[in-house]
Amino acid sequence: MNRDPSPFRTASTASTATSPTPKYANLTASTNLRYSLTRKSIYDRHLNRTKTSELSKSAFAFLFGEMVQYAQKKVYGVQDLEKKLNLHGYAVGQRFLELLLWRDGRTAKRETRILGILQFISHQLYRAIFQKQADTLEKVRENEDEYMISDNDPVVNTYISVPKEMSQLNCGAFIAGIIEAVLDGHCFPAKVTAHTAPNEMWPGRTVFLIKFEPEVLEREALRVGS
């Protein structure tokens, strides 16, 4: 249960090649945890066991609602609240990415291009978590470093009704956090934010705006050159 955010998050200016080894060196130290002798520990159970398992959507909705309520208690504004939700999503995203890549096994591919990683997110990742693909993936025309992934009806917002005085709030910030973690995990540090962008068909349509750090574009330019 290591709760530290990825090293890329806080030190985005540092070289992305920095190895996090020293921080995790104590993993080899012996553990003081007690384990049941008759039960299999989490290390003995197959990781694919829960690959296709499902729970009720209401169970998630209740949990998510309670999470938002709790987060709301300790914040100074909508932005602060979204940041909290983003961090929750970030923790989930880090773990989901690891699961996904582990399950791909030998066929797992390391995405090295912006388009590749964005497609991975809007297709594979989205399908794994939400059983559907993201609805669109677009580039922001005015800004070289911005991309948008949209979801017509994000699952997390299904049972959330935002009070008037917080109309800016979009709990999709949780999903934005998941996306941010996956990008960070692939060494594409970026800021991801959720924005409500309704259209006639979809009143709850949400756009995830992805803004890459400059070094990502720099690297991309090098790749294109070669």
Partner: protein
Amino acid sequence: MSSTSRARLGEEVWKLRTDKINAELVTLTYGSVVAQLCKDLDGDYAEVNKQLDKMGYNIGLRLIEDFLAKSNMQQKCANFRDTADVISKVGFKMFLNITPTIVNWSSDNKQFSLLFDENPLADFVELPDDGKAQSDLWYSNMLCGVIRGALEMVQMSVDAHFVSDVLRGNDTTEMRINLIRYIEDEMPQDDE
């Protein structure tokens, strides 16, 4: 309603009347909530348990509505044994797709235990190796609150708490539920 028909009802509600979502998303989200509490409360696990129970209670108050609507249960449970059966076979089945085993009835039929063979909330989980989490933290404590809240809405005041958890190195995960009293209908004062 017999025990087997309840099992069938639970199965049916789960299969036909339940929108579903990836289980791992729920598991990881719950983990993130617990982790956040541990961080916010600075490792005061007794306080974390309390907070989880409180959150669960809030959920329970609202969850009973969803439960009654989907299960379409018309008649009241005749006794606490029936209630236990419904919690396990319909309630848990419907939301978490598990049916914990009911054991250890007290002689007055007011206390029983739920044994969790599977616990979707605790998949992928290992408690922190800080020397106290394994003796102080009840990781799935939210479930206790849910049961307490939901039963309160159908006029049963209960106490629910975990007595063992495989995450703590125990051989079983067991929740003890104790009926305190049935809440009588109370007329509001000065009701004309």
